[in-house]
């Protein structure tokens, strides 16, 4: 294969083409890029020009903000664009109100003004750290809107209100332009592709479970890959309600499918740990589960159950009982996932579970502190320099530093931003002084701007993780450097000032992300271990737990994905910490499940307390006695048979894990781990 073919395949094998047309169809290309990429670029250009025309017509002061808004909302599916638009409007409005408060209260005192602004940015960064996707974006946007409205008018507070109104109007114009163009051009919905990928992931899980039953072994890398794929769906499902009238019902069904898949993986892992302990006694069980576990509902598997009377016969503390309980969960959740897919396709109203994220409190505090210090240093150093137009530097710097706190790798974001701003300056210069060169009619402006918008749009649509982020940033930065206005100014000084100030902002970002409170993986690992210890203790507390089984399983999986994402430690001590982390995830998760099962049993606080005491003492014998007692309770005892079996299994599973890891549970409970 020659280099040209490689290059062509690199661009044509685009993520967007896959998103819109399905993985199995080879994308049709034109001039190195997929046709869907060209369609995306042209759509973005039409939306940008519509927004600019409307902003000029409304005589908005900062008409280029509308073009920037379109660039930010240039996303491949309608749902993604609409959801982001909602948070963009909401975030801007909150930021505008905060700006008015900051300007009104700290009008005459510059130092307090800067301090209040830095605190507001830190608060927004802290909140964003607990959110994901567009919610997090909305939170940081509230922060840096204060830079655009308040900080830019630090010397002219009387203008803050008008600038804020102008900003809100420009954003509304941009949002409306994107919505109208997306609707009229029938931009693809996120739903069909999402539904297809959910079903594919479910198929992978069924294959994984079948493999576990066949080989009685589990590969941690395979589990990690599955968990990562399932957790990633959470952000994508959030866009469904914005996409159509039935979107809310579809999102609920999708969440239900995600929770079911997560519990299937957990059950398969438990089975893999238990089957080696059972020997050949479990062959009949394995055979029954293998027959029932299929990726589609059939007449045969609809009634396939692990017989409940068989479950009742086992000793609560035998591995076979635990394996049979896990097998029943696996089959139940498989059926639940399949019925959720049906509901998803039909859009039937259903109550979906809440899928809580795991976010480290320490990471959020560090993000907030980093934002606070960065804003203070940048503000005071720029004030001391006394340059004209330094507020331009702060506007861009506040925006990019706030966004950098919420990206997975801040350094990569800073590098992409640096490349994008340099390219944006070059593209803006060529467009303004070579292509347009003094024209003042809107049609010519639109034609002249086409390469500057369609080009980065093609990069975005390529879906390549190396160039797509640069394309997105170029789309956003180009109008900020060009500063397109009506009447147009072709003043090289304005271009040079805007370009150089924006480049300085990105250099500031680069320095900040590198030297100011960077967080290495060892520190993140230590935070995760600390959170596991806290969660284990919460399971021993008398306070009720805040999540149900679905929520707790998803949150644990999210944390495990974050732990797996950390770079493999180099030293043997750190490798030990990584292994300990995965073991603690399992223990904390089992402790929560035991506590939730005891709560669902509804036999009063005494039994919960007894379980917690045995767990706190890391005493597997007491736990096993409790499990045995629960299972042999008469049918008349409060709590159904199923709830009693589940509780007995959860307690016996906890005892099983304690026996396997006696030192770890002591370390987890008493804080002797570090």
């Amino acid at each position: 294969m020659n280099g040209a073919t490689n290059w062509r395949g690199w661009l044509l094998g685009s993520g967007l083409a896959q998103t819109e047309e399905g993985e199995h169809r080879r994308p049709v290309g034109f001039c190195l890029f997929a046709l869907s990429g060209w369609s995306f670029g042209l759509r973005t250009w039409i939306a940008t020009m519509t927004a600019l025309y409307a902003a000029f017509w409304l005589q908005l002061e900062n008409a280029y903000s509308a073009a920037v808004c379109v660039a930010i909302l240039a996303l491949p599916t309608r749902g993604q664009a609409y959801e982001k638009a909602i948070y963009r409007v909401g975030g801007t409005f909150i930021g505008f109100l905060a700006s008015l408060a900051i300007v009104g209260i700290f009008n005459g005192t510059r130092e307090l003004f800067i301090l209040a602004f830095a605190i507001w940015m830190a608060v927004c960064g802290y909140v964003a750290s607990f959110l994901d996707g567009n919610r997090a974006y909305g939170a940081v946007l509230s922060g840096f809107t204060a830079a655009i409205v308040a900080f830019a008018n630090i010397d002219t507070p009387q203008n803050a209100f008008l600038v804020g109104i102008d900003r809100c109007a420009a954003i509304l114009v941009g949002v409306l332009a994107v919505m109208v163009v997306n609707d009229l051009f029938a931009v693809p919905d996120a739903f069909p592709d999402l539904a297809r990928r959910l079903e594919e992931t479910h198929l992978r899980i069924v294959e994984f479970a079948q493999k576990v039953l066949r080989t009685r072994n589990v590969e941690s890398s395979e589990v990690g890959g599955l968990l990562e794929a399932i957790v990633a769906f959470r952000v994508e499902v959030a866009v469904l309600p914005a996409e159509s009238i039935v979107g809310r019902s579809r999102a609920a069904a999708a969440r239900s499918a995600i929770a079911a898949m997560m519990r299937e993986v957990a059950a398969a892992r438990a089975i893999s740990a238990l089957l080696p302990e059972t020997g050949h006694k479990a062959d009949a069980l394995v055979d029954a589960v293998s027959r029932g576990l299929v990726p589609a509902v059939t007449d045969e598997n609809r009634n396939c159950e692990v017989p409940h009377h068989t479950l009742g016969c086992y000793d609560a503390n035998s591995p076979l009982f635990l394996a049979a309980t896990a097998a029943r969960v696996l089959l139940d959740q498989n059926r639940r996932a399949l019925s959720s897919f049906d509901l998803l396709r039909m859009g039937t109203a259903v109550h979906g579970p809440v899928l809580p994220l795991f976010r480290s409190r320490e990471a959020a505090l560090r993000n907030a502190l980093r934002l606070f210090v960065a804003i203070l240093i940048a503000s005071y150093s720029l004030s001391l320099l006394g340059w004209p137009s330094v507020s331009t530097v702060m506007l861009m710097f506040a925006a990019v530093i706030a966004i950098s706190t919420n990206v997975p790798i801040p350094n990569k974001f800073a590098k992409d931003a640096l490349v994008a701003i340099l390219l944006a300056c070059a593209v803006s210069g060529i467009t303004e002084f070579v292509i347009l060169d003094g024209v003042d009619s809107f049609p010519l402006l639109a034609i002249g701007l086409a390469p500057a918008v369609v080009g980065p749009g093609l990069l975005v649509a390529s879906g390549n993780p190396k160039i797509a982020p640069v394309g997105t940033l170029m789309l956003i930065f180009t109008p900020l450097v060009f500063l397109v206005s009506n009447p147009p100014n072709y003043d090289p000084r304005i271009y040079l000032i805007a370009g150089s100030m924006n480049i300085i902002s990105i250099i500031f970002l680069f320095i900040t992300t590198t030297v100011l409170l960077p967080t290495n993986d060892d520190r993140k690992r230590a935070w995760l271990l600390g959170s596991l210890r806290r969660d284990f203790r919460r399971a021993l507390d008398e306070k009720p737990l805040p999540y149900d089984v679905d929520g707790a399983t998803f949150r644990d999986a999210d944390r495990e994905v974050q732990l797996n994402a950390l770079r493999s430690p180099a030293s043997s001590g750190d490798k030990c910490e990584q292994r300990r982390g995965l073991c603690w995830v399992e223990l904390a998760s089992a402790a929560w499940r035991m506590r939730l099962a005891l709560r669902d049993l509804q036999q009063g606080p005494d039994i919960e307390k007894e379980g917690c005491l045995a767990l706190a003492a890391a005493d597997p014998v007491s736990l096993r006695q409790l499990a045995g007692r629960l299972l042999t309770q008469k049918r008349t005892a409060s709590g159904g048979n199923e709830a009693r079996r589940d509780a007995a299994a959860a307690i016996a599973w906890m005892a099983f894990l304690i026996e396997r890891n006696p030192h770890e549970v002591v370390a987890l409970n008493k804080g002797l781990g570090r």
Binding site: R78, M179, V180, D183, L184, A186, S244, I245
Partner: protein, 67 residues
């Protein structure tokens, strides 16, 4: 007879009549979505988003003409 447009004033700030119409139309449209969900409105159209956009514009135009 000339059609007058109501002007909204909040704290001394004059809000353009179109903004008021657009916001009220948005509220009506959000409420109307529940009804459209019941009648499976989206199933009648090949480009449902364009149909929904048209509904919003019809509500907006009706408000402007009537009030």
């Amino acid at each position: 007879m000339t059609h007058g447009f109501p002007e909204l004033v909040i704290g001394g700030v004059l809000i353009a009549p179109f903004v008021t119409y657009a916001l009220v139309a948005l509220v009506i449209f959000v409420l109307l979505r529940r009804l459209l969900l019941v009648v499976n409105f989206e199933d009648f159209f090949s480009n449902a988003p364009a149909a929904l956009l048209s509904v919003y514009i019809m509500v907006l135009a009706t408000l402007i003409v009537l009030f």
